[in-house]
């Protein structure tokens, strides 16, 4: 569905998406990397459980929430990929972190 523009940068950035190895391009947002990897939906909503994916690509719609390096509810379109980054689907509501209570 989505293809990269021919002029996209060539340098690749390795990361994992839901534990599987994937390659992004330097300068990609996590959302762009997800789309390029064919992951057009990246989360389910807390209320209805329906799938959602990157939409506005500019930090407004909050539909591209993912877990990045263990941190829940990150806006994938607002975070630039880094080598070794671990991206995971955001399934429904995040948990409140009980460890913070100590």
């Amino acid at each position: 569905m989505f293809r990269r523009l021919p002029e996209a940068g060539a340098a690749t950035v390795p990361l994992t998406i839901d534990g599987s190895a994937a390659l992004a391009r330097a300068g990609d947002s996590v959302a762009a990397a997800l789309i390029a990897a064919g992951r057009v939906d990246c989360r389910t909503t807390p209320v209805s459980g329906k799938p959602r994916g990157p939409y506005c690509m500019m930090g407004v719609c909050f539909d591209c929430l993912v877990e990045i390096d263990g941190r829940p509810n990150q806006q994938a379109c607002m975070v630039e990929v880094q080598p070794g980054m671990q991206v995971a689907r955001q399934e429904g509501p995040r948990a409140v972190d009980a460890s913070a209570a100590q």
Binding site: P46, V47, F62, N73, G92, P93, R94, A95, V96, D97, A98, A100, A101
Partner: protein, 373 residues
């Protein structure tokens, strides 16, 4: 200009107007609800969503009873709205906690509740004082510096935006005429007939209800009433949705059925100003974090401010105009808690043409008395 006739004209399309108008169409009345529109200073869209009993009524025992009556009638309202509109307003009444962060706060809280309950004519209810370990039975995540709480079984909460939608939908489904973008500046009465002009239509009816919130102050004198209401600003912080961990509402902190954590309960005299301010928000956030340290890691998604409709003494005003019978005013700052009383108790009294003895304590005569003294 077009003229339309109704049994009752309700001025105001927020939670108070919506509940009264819905209650009236349930009784078969032909009702028009004139709504200023989305430019209105709608407390309805900014409120916290509690159906709260605990602590209400110090200074006016009847307010305690009226609030309890509404809380008892709430399940019937929620069920009726679900039946008529399919909208689930997510009513939960599991009892609520008022959290105290110091010994002094707890002492004052207990003194206030006792003073309230001991008033002559107060419809008493039991409350429980909890220490930190007692709170932990309800909230294992409670913070280490929380000192205590008071709890009653009467408190609850709803989704106030869905309530707003459901009241409007049920009103229209029952044949009510909803008129948005119809601000009313002028109300006339002659020979027992009221004329309210909004959006170039003259709405003519033998009964009229002022439910225009802060707008009542300007409209009421045209009907021989003085309604001293002023804006009192409240600010709210909404956190991102998290998995449900709060199963009971608190007076200033609750988790909605959809997972959003709301922090509220600021009170400021700031005029007609709905801007939010960092010092107040910071204090609210700090208190919330002391109650639940695990919120430290949860992000804020929105903040907003809205204006409560506050009467001189903070209690509701219900009154029929002595000089223009058929004209009523209904105003309060607890449009959510009192929605069931407004739809199921107040509206039938208005339809019958008399508010009766039960509501006499809420007339503006109470202000005249204090003025004379």
């Amino acid at each position: 200009m077009k003229t339309e006739e109704f049994d009752v004209t309700v001025i105001g399309g927020g939670l108070v107007g919506g509940a009264v108008a819905y209650g009236l169409v349930r009784l078969g009345k032909r009702v028009v609800m004139l709504d200023e529109g989305d430019v209105a200073l709608r407390a309805t869209r900014g409120n916290f969503g509690l159906v709260w009993v605990q602590g209400k009524g110090l200074g006016l025992a009847e307010y305690g009873g009226w609030t309890q009556l509404s809380a008892r009638r709430w399940p019937a309202l929620a069920e009726a709205l679900r039946g008529e509109t399919g909208v689930d307003v997510s009513l939960e009444q599991p009892g609520g906690l008022h959290i105290c962060l110091s010994e002094r706060e707890l002492e004052q809280r207990i003194a206030t509740l006792d003073r309230m309950l001991e008033q002559p004519g107060f419809e008493r209810y039991p409350y429980e004082t909890l220490d930190r370990a007692g709170i932990a039975r309800y909230f294992p995540e409670i913070g280490p510096t929380v000192v205590g709480a008071t709890r009653t079984t009467l408190d609850g909460h709803v989704n106030p935006l869905r309530l707003f939608r459901a009241l409007h939908a049920a009103f229209v489904a029952r044949g009510g005429s909803y008129r948005p973008n119809s601000p009313v500046a002028k109300v006339e009465h002659a020979a027992g007939v009221f004329t309210a002009t909004g959006a170039d239509v003259r709405h003519v009816s033998p009964q009229l209800v002022l439910a225009a919130g802060l707008g009542n102050a300007a409209l009421a004198p045209q009907l021989g009433l003085t309604v001293p209401v002023r804006p009192q600003r409240g600010q709210i912080i909404a956190l991102e949705r998290v998995r449900r961990f709060m199963h009971y509402p608190m007076g200033a902190l609750r988790q909605t059925d959809e997972g959003t954590v709301l922090i509220g309960d600021s009170q400021e005299e700031a005029g007609f100003d709905t801007t939010v301010g960092t010092p107040i928000l910071a204090t609210m956030a700090e208190r919330a974090e002391r109650i639940f340290p695990l919120l430290r890691d949860v992000r804020v998604t929105r903040t907003w401010a809205a204006l409560r409709v506050m009467s001189k003494d903070g209690f509701p005003i219900y009154e029929q105009s002595p000089s223009a019978p058929g004209a009523f005013v209904a105003t309060c700052h607890s449009g959510v808690t009192l929605a069931a009383a407004h739809a199921l108790e107040l509206a039938p009294r208005i339809a019958a043409g008399s508010l009766g003895d039960r509501l006499s304590a809420f007339s503006t005569e109470r202000f005249h008395v204090s003025k004379a003294a």
